[in-house]
């Protein structure tokens, strides 16, 4: 049975909050547990729906009388909107509603801004919106909106925003946040070092570019509203829409069944959802508002660009004596909320080092707001730190792997407690390097201008632990099938399948005896946002708990039905078995559940708290082999081998998918992806998939994911941790280090675009170095 404790807390402002501690005690599936479904490769439950096109995405919603909506965006990076007139747009036949600063309700947005704000702070900021009978009319109507702007001085990058006399983007200036951390004495550590690294490294702005854009369909019924939204958090959308529109949470229903990716950009509620709701209210019709690729590129998040000055020191035997990093990251025009971009985190935790100092400054710029992007901060930090480590290894004449192992730690030094799995990272090093053949001589092509090299990079990640609260319900139907009901969402990762496997395992059912339900705030219990690689680790234990309780009730019922003591009974493959009796005398579950119809077994499980004496982290190591053509600067990734510690692997198939997808994004980040903003106008020049270059299938080599699969029994009773974000973290530095190994050129700026690589090779040739 669940425990449930409530504690009253009173804040300084007198506000009372109740803190809840709950959970259903469960014994962990330990390493020896004989699991029949969990750990076996399973294709996605919704696979057929997806490939046949019947899966419903946000775009697919079609309601009677539905209108379509679009947004007019600011052409200026910083401007005062002096006049906006939507009269002509509203008068266009087929237009049913318009909204702009002229007539929008006063709704707060971001820290100090409004849904429609008179100050526009990035090119792409929302100016007005229109709902009409089709998308062509919307476009025509948007062209009829008269908007007059008074352009203001602007800053599009960190340097410009921090320059003396820079125009303040917000009242308090352009520094959004400053965070520092220190342990030991880095200056003393650097003095004690035999070798040092001291460089400024930069990473670029990357756009999430989910295949499915952001968007929603909104329909009102009386005072209540239903929102079909492409989101990582149906419950956050519910809460935010309610708050912004002055409704109660129960008046808002949010539905999301399938999603074509979010990668962090859909973990917060953006303006278009509330705009669509207002347009729907005004028109009295359902309204669909999907962003186009330009909107995706401009207004719904990006990975913050960073500038990191990194100093490292090590003694001759490779022991790190100091890590000192000063980080600036451009968060764009607003702090958008959601998972923070903690670039400093990797420096504090990955390696054993007594002297660490980190300083992280968030800087406002007149560009689209940044938001969490798959392992925010860690991807950026890994490029810098792992480049620095590679350089130290070269200086020391040490194997880069040996240097990393020399500085191994099983403790979270910043929290001063051990990791829940102190050997997780060590296992990753071992698995990845053995499978890769690290240390073996690689074969060089006959042509001297084609050079091959290998690189390695490691990481830890602060996410993947999961957290309370999170709930699941189990319903055993008279026909012997189970409905598993949660309020979580499948953001394209295979959540449905993995969680259904957990349920089937605990119940003792086959996977096809389980039907999984998610993605509807009205029909399922609460689940948090799917971010921080948390969903499996948050909801998995809740499902186990609900299923365990349902199984106990089922066995009690079976005991009565079969007139056997409950201790002799068990469920396996959907059949109730009596200990010692032959297999063929097993009783189908339906015989028991049917015999008590219409009564049903219905249970709830709650996610319990995490342990307080260990730090739950995920880890990974990747090795890459590349070939560089020194004549043309072409970089070809030949192979990537990955090993990631995500605790127990629930579904190897979808874990492989996450790794393949993450490495693919990492290759894009390493080589081609970069948002380009024109300095003169502040306009994004590649707000499309033509000039913003994501990798194509031809750019992606064979990616091998070596399963680590050590259950993390201290983390939670499933032993499983998240794998969503980690596989992107070490890819870019592994590739950059491999490029160095191939041609001896070190890159301190991402991406390693063709122009950068050619420039560097040409510069080296001019210096008379061999090609």
């Amino acid at each position: 049975m669940s425990t449930w404790q409530v504690e009253r807390q009173e804040g300084e402002d007198g506000e009372v909050t109740l803190s809840v501690a709950e959970g259903t005690p469960l014994s962990p599936w330990d390493a020896g547990a004989a699991l029949r479904i969990v750990g076996t490769p399973r294709t996605r439950l919704e696979g057929v729906e997806k490939v046949t096109g019947s899966a419903q995405y946000a775009y697919d919603v079609r309601l009677a009388g539905q209108l379509y909506a679009g947004i007019l965006r600011s052409p200026h990076p910083h401007a005062r909107l002096t006049r906006v007139d939507t009269t002509a747009a509203a008068a266009l036949p087929g237009v049913h509603a318009v909204i702009s600063l002229a007539d929008a309700p006063d709704i707060d947005w971001y820290d100090d801004s409004k849904l429609f704000d008179p100050t526009l702070r990035f090119a792409g900021d929302e100016v007005a919106a229109v709902a009409a009978e089709d998308e062509d009319i919307v476009a025509d109507a948007l062209r009829l909106v008269v908007a007059e702007y008074e352009p203001l001085p602007f800053a599009i990058d960190i340097v410009a925003a921090l320059a003396p006399g820079a125009t303040p983007i917000h009242e308090g200036g352009n520094v959004e946040s400053e965070k520092t951390y220190e342990r030991g004495d880095v200056e003393a550590g650097l003095r004690a070092a035999d070798v040092t690294f001291d460089r400024v490294l930069t990473t670029q702005t990357a756009i999430h570019h989910s295949l499915e854009p952001h968007g929603c369909t909104v329909a009102w019924e009386g005072e209540g509203v239903t929102v079909w939204e492409s989101t990582q958090s149906i419950f956050d959308v519910r809460q935010q829409v309610a708050e912004k529109l002055g409704l109660g949470e129960s008046q808002v229903r949010v539905i999301k069944q399938h999603m074509g990716g979010g990668f962090g950009s859909k973990q917060i509620v953006w303006k278009q959802t509330v705009i669509a709701a207002l347009l729907a209210k005004r028109s009295g019709r359902p309204v669909q508002l999907m962003l186009d690729r330009e909107g995706e590129s401009l207004a719904v998040g990006n990975r913050n660009p960073t500038r990191q000055r990194l100093r490292l020191g090590a003694t001759a035997d490779g022991t790190l004596t100091a890590i000192d990093v000063t980080i600036h990251q451009a968060i764009g025009a607003h702090s958008a909320g959601g998972e923070g971009s903690n670039t400093a985190g990797l420096y504090q935790t990955l390696y054993a080092c007594p002297n660490v100092r980190t300083s992280q400054t968030g800087v406002y710029t007149n560009t689209g707001p940044a938001v969490a992007f798959r392992a925010p901060g860690y991807v950026e930090a890994a490029f810098a730190l792992e480049t620095g480590m590679d350089d130290l290894a070269r200086q020391l004449g040490m194997d880069p792997l040996a240097l990393r192992l020399t500085n191994y730690t099983g403790d979270d030094q910043s929290k001063e407690m051990p990791f829940s799995q102190p050997d997780g990272l060590r296992a990753c090093y071992e698995k990845a390097t053995v499978a890769f053949g690290w240390g073996e001589t690689i074969e060089q092509p006959a042509e001297s201008h084609r050079r091959r090299g290998v690189g390695i990079a490691a990481h830890h990640w602060v996410g993947g632990a999961g957290d309370p609260p999170g709930y699941a319900w189990v319903k055993l139907n008279p026909d012997g099938r189970a409905d598993i009901i949660t309020g979580t969402q499948d953001i394209g990762t295979g959540t449905r399948t993995g969680l259904a496997m957990v349920a089937a395992e605990e119940l003792g059912f086959t996977l096809d005896q389980v039907t999984f339900h998610l993605g509807d705030t009205a029909l399922g219990p609460y689940a948090p946002v799917s971010s921080g690689s948390a969903t499996m680790a948050t909801i998995g234990p809740a499902i186990r708990a609900a299923a365990a309780e349902a199984k106990a009730e089922l066995l009690a019922a079976a005991a009565a039905f079969l007139e056997e003591p409950v201790e002799r009974l068990s469920v396996r493959d959907g059949l109730i078995r009596v200990a010692g009796e032959p297999e063929d005398r097993a009783t189908p579950v339906a015989a028991v559940t049917g015999s008590m119809s219409p009564h049903m077994i219905q249970t709830q499980g709650a996610r319990g708290g995490n342990p307080e004496d260990v730090s739950i982290q995920t880890f990974g190591v990747q090795c890459a082999e590349v070939e560089v053509d020194t004549r043309t600067g072409e970089v070809t990734i030949l192979r990537v081998v990955a090993a990631h510690d995500c605790g127990r692997i629930i579904n190897p198939t979808t874990v492989d998918s996450q790794v393949i997808g993450g490495v693919t994004q990492g290759i894009g980040f390493a080589l081609t992806e970069e948002r380009v903003v024109d300095a003169a106008t502040g306009i994004v020049l590649n707000a499309n998939l033509e000039e913003y270059k994501v990798p194509t299938v031809s750019d992606i080599p064979g990616i091998q994911n070596v399963h680590v699969g050590i259950p993390d029994l201290k983390a939670n009773p499933t032993g499983s941790k998240g794998i969503g974000e980690p596989p992107l973290i070490p890819t870019a530095p592994a590739i950059a280090n491999a490029v160095f190994d191939a041609v001896g050129v070190r890159f301190y700026d991402l991406p390693l675009s063709r122009s950068r690589v050619v420039d560097a090779l040409a510069a080296r040739e001019r210096q008379g170095m061999p090609a």
């Binding site: 476009a139 600067g633 070809t636 106008t681 306009i683 031809s698 420039d759």
Partner: protein, 330 residues
């Protein structure tokens, strides 16, 4: 983005098209439509907004066939890039053109994109393609790329515009001495590729000399016995990208020395950029590393890199060498 309203017509004959083009108030008001892969993109981007499109695809008098006629390989204007990539005649007589087609765009686009449209496609300059930014080529006063993000721009520009010609095929066609046959009010004329592509100037903010009433009918490549060709293209990624720089080279060996040499660069000028200096360095010489290096250097001799595109000099030089090496091997 969504297009503005326009009329669509399917004229029955070439004469109707030519008449309609001739009667149009401006070149942009009435446009012929082939595969639409560039035209519709420009319309969606609000860069052009024609009132009327004249579909060329079902006309009598405009071909999508490839044939050998009078010792020339003749390709109809409606030939798709897929047909050029996979067709046996092109593969046999002009493999460099087949390769250029195969390296262009994506399979879906190549199924739709035509040769005529490919030669007439507009630059990919991101200032040109952004409707919020006025630019000289679009009728504005100045070229923002000159001082802006010009990593993809030209090394050689004798024009207020420093955009590069986007066509892979055009680069090869110039190296093959192709002619473009067009027809207008005044009848038919054959234009040497080198005269068809001309840098934009004040009086003609376009990259070619096609008349406002003219339609491209076909492209002809003379078949010169013993001549071989090669095309090398550098991209930002392995596929689905325009050339950063490309090189098309061709020559024939005559008693061991190179003759009828052509060296043409793509991605370095507003038009496919033929280097007669490089050709002169090669003509009459035996193929070899030294002479290739000299020719490559000559090809880039007058380059005027902008702030962000200096890498193209090094890249172009090496692509010329690679292409010459390949012609030698062929």
């Amino acid at each position: 983005m969504t297009m503005r309203t326009f009329a669509y017509a399917q004229p029955e004959s070439l004469a109707d098209v030519i008449a309609a083009l001739g009667a149009a108030p401006s070149r942009d008001a009435v446009r012929p439509l082939a595969g639409g892969t560039d035209l519709l993109t420009l319309m969606k981007g609000d860069i052009v907004a024609p009132d009327r499109l004249l579909d060329l695809k079902r006309l009598t008098g405009l071909d999508d066939t490839v044939e050998i006629r009078d010792n020339e390989l003749v390709l109809g204007a409606l030939t798709t890039l897929t047909a050029i990539e996979t067709g046996s005649l092109v593969g046999e007589h002009c493999p460099a053109l087949a390769k250029a087609a195969s390296l262009a765009a994506t399979p879906q686009l190549r199924n739709r994109a035509t040769l005529g449209g490919n030669l007439l496609q507009r630059p990919r300059c991101w200032y040109f393609r952004e409707h919020l930014i006025p630019c000289w080529l679009k009728g504005g006063d100045a070229c923002p790329a000159r001082e802006g993000e010009n990593g993809l721009h030209a090394l050689f520009a004798d024009s207020p515009c420093v955009a590069v010609h986007p066509s892979d095929l055009a680069t090869v066609l110039l190296a093959m001495d192709a002619t473009v046959t067009v027809r207008g009010d005044a009848g038919e004329r054959a234009i040497a590729a080198g005269d068809f592509f001309v840098q934009p100037d004040e009086g003609r903010r376009r990259e070619n000399t096609l008349g406002g009433d003219e339609v491209v009918l076909s492209v002809a490549i003379p078949l010169i016995p013993g001549r071989t060709s090669a095309y090398h293209k550098a991209m930002d990624r392995k596929a689905w990208a325009f050339a950063l720089v490309s090189a098309a080279c061709s020559f024939r060996l005559d008693g061991g020395v190179m003759r009828d040499v052509r060296v043409v660069l793509g991605g370095v000028a507003p038009i496919p950029w033929r280097s007669t200096a490089a050709e002169a360095a090669l003509d009459g010489e035996r193929p070899g590393a030294d002479v290739f290096a000299r020719a490559a250097a000559a090809a880039l001799a007058g380059a005027e890199p902008l702030r962000h595109n200096g890498y193209k000099v090094h890249l172009a030089r090496n692509l010329v060498i690679e292409a010459l090496e390949e012609v030698t091997r062929a």
